[in-house]
Symmetry: C2
Subunit: 460 residues, 2 copies
């Protein structure tokens, strides 16, 4: 371990997101991190003498000692850091030019750019975390919904690893029975235990099947698309702008960038959602409009949830009835718009009869708009709601592949157990144990590590 | 001041950039900041008892005390913080879902979203910084080139304010002379000083003119466009990808986003540059190609600098000669591509004769590619190089408007000084002093503050 630490080059990465923002963070890790950074700080000696894990403001300077930025610096001494090495975190102003200037100076000082996942890889190699915790870090960042993130948190906190350990214990107990049979083939009371080990293997098969089921459920949740549909002039675009405008995180993000006119990725109740403003569902002979309407129907068929905007002052149209026939009532959220024009009693009756949830509002009224937002948020929460079941332990593609391999091995074992000798079964079970060791990262090759960390973002 | 502090609501903003990243920072400020945050931390008492400005890792939990994220927290006690109020900075994992989850919990705990520039506005109102330093913070973040950022740094470090103070002192000395004349109109030795105050006003006029000149220079630098031009198959797109691929900050940013096929904003030597991959400059009758070529020429005419890619193995074409006629030689950077196919002696001779800088390379060779990148970097640095002159004090639109008003007042004063009475001149000079007080923020209205801070980003 110490040898590994000593060989490390010092690496740097921008750890925060893109675009101009108030603040940005650089992470620097490696044996020489503190020395290198001290050369970029005007108050060099104060920095070198400062306490680790304390905050101080310094002037970051170029080679002519001219101030580039006023920065906050946090110093971490090995092994008390994320990577286990000496580390420095620089919090600077988040302008693109200043970020580039600082990076340029760091690189000229002998620090090199980090590879993807290199910080976490070092943390793993330096024994700061097990492989699954390392994987969970990336999973936490990359999740697109609550189920995924819950699954990642289980790994992060080590509960997943505990479950896998239990699975291994079960396999080992099967091995113990098999060993006894192989060792003492003549002893009758052991012979009688034959059935017990098959039963144990079957229990393991059940656990594996259950995990695969949970995994399939998570995957199906990725990338929810919610189209806003309705006839022309129903208020679809107003609703689109209302929801997008309300969305806190994305709205902050979007400043200064061009906004896609018809779709926007937003987060509602912990679900990443692609909200689509669609063309009006009107009867038309205009070929371009027809194309738009066909596309709308494609969205309607794909979408888990549909926001249907229907005006208070108009009768229900044929195309609108088609919506209610295409989609399950519980996945439709209806908004009766333009409440200032008509009471919309006919619409309400229709929706009540169909069992479709609705709210009536006038989008130009701020108070009513807020109600619409709350209503939609609650409905989406209800439809996409987390089940109370514990997250599974298959968190990514790598896990999935190993578990599917194990599933195949166990199925074939169960089939042939009766005709196989105990020694063959024992051999197969040992193979499965090896797979599980690979899963939890007890045995890892350079190749596996490369594969895992190449999916990471640069500052992790 | 204390009254102001006590009335503050507690505010929060995401202070870092957009998209999934390793880390993100939330800033929280207000009298109750520490109490509110302590309610979201599992180790509440440890946090409350912790030293300010020290780093500790905590579990950020939801209302059911379930962990949402492991966070690093920095606590600042009033008045020792950016805003002067109690403050907390939370460094969390930078996934969009987790950022939204944390924000949701903070808002439910009684914290509200910050307005644009609200942190810096509070810092200003609490006497933590003068108005110009407050403005410089936003300028540092929003700069698109080194001249702008240098100008902002002068403000940040207070040198601009010093210069303005000197200007005010000059104006006051004019007033002193005028007062003496008004007070003792009969004294001959004072009468003789008439000329001296006009000369002083003229000196002030010169300073103002010089500042306006510097400002114009900065503005003209905003948004450099560099097209890559050349005939079809010269290697333009390879060069485009090479430069964009090499660009450190932007390349990190771009992960997972769709890349515009023909243009990309990058930073080279502290200049924000829009690099454009253009259509080949070939003779054609195809209307679509003609459109592309016309657009290329528009870029060529607009661009300060042009990257011209010309293959080693082909003679110089008519359209290429047109490039060298349209643009000043010193603004053309030529790259003789495909050095593996031909020595390109003819091209070299032509470029030498024209005095155009060039490099010859084969883009598929990594070593030669690096040389091309270095060459282009150096050339751009040379062409856009910072002059050695000190940055001016007009840093933004607001400053510019005030200085132009002052310029007009002084010009009219200089014209009419001879026919004006001293009392009128004194009155006019006092008006200019008022303008300067507004410039440095000694007198500010709510309206001016609103205008200034509405340009800020949310986390500042």
């Amino acid at each position: 371990m110490p040898n590994y630490l000593e060989n490390q080059e010092t690496i740097v990465a921008l750890a925060t997101g893109k675009g101009n923002s108030a603040l940005a963070i650089f992470r620097i890790s490696g044996r020489q991190a503190i020395t290198y950074i001290s050369n970029c700080i005007l108050q060099k000696n104060t920095f070198l003498a400062s306490q680790p894990r304390s905050i101080k403001i310094y002037k970051f300077v170029d080679f002519n000692k001219k101030m580039v930025d006023e920065i906050t610096v946090i110093k971490y001494l090995s092994p008390e850091s994320y990577t286990g090495e000496n580390m420095v975190e620089i919090i600077c102003h988040g302008g693109e030019i200043i970020v580039e200037e600082i990076l340029e100076i760091l690189l000229k000082n002998g620090i090199r750019l980090a590879n993807k996942g290199e910080f976490t890889r070092r943390a793993f190699l330096n024994g700061k975390m097990d492989l699954m915790k390392a994987e969970s870090v990336q999973q936490i960042i990359g999740s697109t919904n609550k189920k995924q993130i819950n699954c990642a948190r289980e790994m992060y906190e080590g509960r997943t690893q505990k479950k896998l350990l239990e699975l291994k214990t079960k396999l080992k107990s099967v091995l113990a029975i098999l060993d006894a049979i192989i060792e003492f083939p003549e002893e009758d009371d052991i012979k009688e235990k034959d059935l017990s080990y098959i039963q144990k293997i079957d229990e393991i098969r059940c656990i594996i099947d259950e995990e695969i089921r949970k995994r399939e459920k998570i995957i199906s949740d990725i990338g929810t698309i919610i189209p806003i549909v309705g006839i022309a002039n129903a208020g679809k675009s107003s609703l689109f702008n209302l929801i997008v405008g309300f969305n806190r995180v994305i709205v902050h993000y979007e400043e200064g960038t061009t906004r896609d006119a018809v779709s926007e990725e937003i987060i509602i109740n912990g679900e990443k959602i692609k909200l689509i403003d669609t063309a009006g569902l009107n009867e038309t002979e205009n070929p371009i409009e027809i194309l738009g309407i066909r596309k709308t129907w494609e969205y309607v068929e794909k979408g888990n949830i549909v926001l249907w905007v229907t005006p208070s002052n108009k009768k229900i149209m044929e195309n609108e009835i088609k919506i209610t026939k295409t989609i399950k009532s519980e996945n439709i959220i209806a908004i009766i718009s333009k409440s200032d024009l008509n009471k919309g009693e006919e619409k309400k009756k229709y929706l009540n009869d169909k069992g479709i949830s609705y709210i009536q509002a006038c989008f130009v009224n701020d108070k009513e708009s807020n109600k619409v937002i709350d209503f939609i948020g609650e409905k989406i929460k209800k439809i996409t709601k987390e089940s109370d079941e514990e997250p599974g332990f298959i968190c990514n593609k790598r896990h999935e592949e190993i578990i599917i391999t194990i599933k195949k091995k166990i199925s074939s074992l169960m089939e042939k157990a009766k005709i196989m000798g105990e020694e063959t079964i024992s051999y197969e079970i040992k193979g499965i144990l090896t797979d599980l060791n690979e899963f939890v990262g007890e045995t890892t090759s350079e190749e596996i590590l490369n594969m895992i960390f190449s999916d990471f973002c640069v500052g992790k």
